[in-house]
Symmetry: C2
Subunit: 341 residues, 2 copies
DNA sequence: CTGAAAGCGCTAACAA
DNA sequence: TTGTTAGCGCTTTCAG
């Protein structure tokens, strides 16, 4: 295995009997370099297959042209779509993107945020894990003046840019829709209590009921435990049925939970939507695969990604802003919640 | 916005009136440093909240302790699971992971592989895009002695480590299963022609037919076009039906295609599995959500990730190996292909 | 238009 | 046990 030696600026400088700085300038097409010198340098660079060493660049410029992204889980369609939105604009602006997962674990989140910090990212985009209460690891960024943007799941105890969907309104719309479809006993399957989205959606749920003169019934507010997965929905639904509680509609914090609920309902031979209507949140691809197809709130995931990176780049470019952008979710009505047959 | 200044080794060296190297050694707990000096240094480091600058480290050590991963799409459960497998072991071994998507585009793949190269990753793990024919961008890595491991989708024209699933055998098993369940007219919905997995699975399909004395019928080998998405499956299935071709079983290159096919069959009021049985490949979560639940070949995705990083780390540590690991997929039979009712 | 030189923060061989 | 020094590859100010 022979050692491979990269061509450096010095190599091509020596060969052309010019100085490093001249090479540096020529390579970035600096105006003050003679035409022929420039050409000679650029040609030789091509011949040597020269590529600038971005580590060295970073060290001297104190900027890595890299932005970090932390999401709870890559395997959620929502998150990977947001990431695509981020990448699109980031690449266009000459930034690289480093993606990390917290795996919904607070400890892991602290570790990766440390890693990203010591990798000297120029900025960070985060959706926090469901366990995260403490935001000290993100404060370190602020101390070092590294901009942060939160999306979807934000830190309650920190002033920072954020991009979210109007969870309150989304939930309100979902419940309103159910009420208008003639439902009265509407249950809500809620998410992990620490997340703001959980609380906002509960509020929207309650307010919609109130607005339409339906009394809130604590029995119909179901806690799905720590998880946001299908199993959590299935289990919680079965428990509910076992307790003898029988709503005529269910609004779930997210699609996987909604689908878990649907599975349990079907297993118990409860017809959807005739006996119980179901609405989810997020509009993951599975929503169109289950039967009946699941009504859900579409989050503009790609747009959320784009907006996040927009805000981040503005900060990186020196603007001292704290903007909280709120996008709206759109209700997509499908069979699972159509009017009572 | 006051400029924030990171504490460096020099800062703490000066304050303690020792040299940089002493600080460097103390911080990594080098044995040859006096106990009290060491303690003083470490204490001050803590007080200053010192964190080593990994850019500087990388530059001087010529190793970034970072490995790059390129996948076609993050939004596939399979790929994100492989990534989790990679991360697990990478972090344990002190490596960071940079994840990029090629978005199934050759051009994008070239770009990100360049980016990763100039970020000086210590190694690369890749599953190529469905457009990729040319592997010059990966050859650059080999030239620079940066190890590469391919998984799932490998480059045909390159000698390198790889981790794959036995596609031939998997396909064979699927088709054999269908034959044993009494099917005779078995169609195969194939993937993008450039991918090896497409070819291997076609071979397995053909050989299984042959082995059981069923003549291969070109009409039953369906090309789904360039995509691997649900729509491609739906369209191809409708086209097939329109052509008057009616198989009694379908083996699809992947789950999304299989599900697209199921959708079309259902729309045409064709009963699954009574009239047509369906088997997919990959066992994505949707497989258990469609009705009837989809039989599929489970790929040990997490294991594939672990194996890839294992092979990569071995190479990074200097072993000059070219290993092609082949894991086996496991057939998971569900309702979509159960014995004719 | 071009060069010299210092500096980014850290490692490591060699001295002391 | 500790210090000196050179070096990693690039940017940039200041001179010429």
């Amino acid at each position: 295995m022979k050692e491979y030696k990269e061509a450096t600026m010095l190599d091509i400088a020596r060969e052309l009997k010019v100085s490093k700085s001249t090479v540096s300038r020529a390579l970035k097409d600096h105006p003050s370099i003679g035409k022929k010198t420039k050409k000679a340098i650029q040609d030789l660079a091509k011949k040597y297959n020269y590529h600038p060493n971005s580590i060295a660049y970073s060290l001297s410029k104190k900027s890595t042209k890299t932005i970090g992204v932390i999401v709870p889980l890559l395997s959620h369609y929502y998150f990977s779509t947001v990431i695509s939105g981020i990448e699109e604009l980031a690449y266009k602006s000459g930034y690289k993107v480093i993606i990390c997962q917290s795996a919904e674990s607070y400890d892991r989140e602290v570790i990766v945020s440390q890693t990203l910090l010591s990798s000297k990212v120029d900025g960070l985009i985060v959706s926090i894990s469901r366990e995260t209460v403490n935001s000290d690891h993100f404060r370190l960024y602020q101390e070092k003046n590294i901009p942060i943007v939160f999306f979807d799941r934000v830190c309650a105890d920190m002033e920072a840019c954020s991009v979210t969907v109007d969870d309150y309104k989304g939930a309100f719309m979902a419940v309103e829709h159910l009420i208008k479809a003639g439902r009265r006993r509407i249950a809500h399957f809620a998410g992990p209590p620490l997340l703001q989205i959980t609380q906002k959606r509960i509020e929207g749920y309650k307010d919609a009921l109130f607005r339409y003169g339906i009394a809130f019934d604590g029995d119909l507010l179901i806690d799905c435990g720590a998880g946001l997965e299908q199993e959590n929905g299935s289990l919680a639904a079965q428990e509910m049925l076992d307790r003898g509680v029988k709503p005529d509609a269910i609004f779930a914090i997210c699609d996987p939970i909604a689908i878990g609920v649907m599975m349990t309902l079907k297993k118990n031979r409860i017809n959807i939507p005739d006996e119980v209507a179901v609405v989810g949140f997020c509009d993951e691809p599975i929503a169109r695969v289950v039967e009946p197809q699941l009504s859900s709130l579409v989050q503009p995931a790609f747009r959320i990604g784009e907006t996040s990176i927009e805000l981040l780049l503005q900060q990186i470019q020196g603007q001292d802003i704290i903007e909280k952008r709120v996008l709206t979710a759109e209700l997509r009505i499908r069979e699972s919640s159509s009017r009572r047959g």
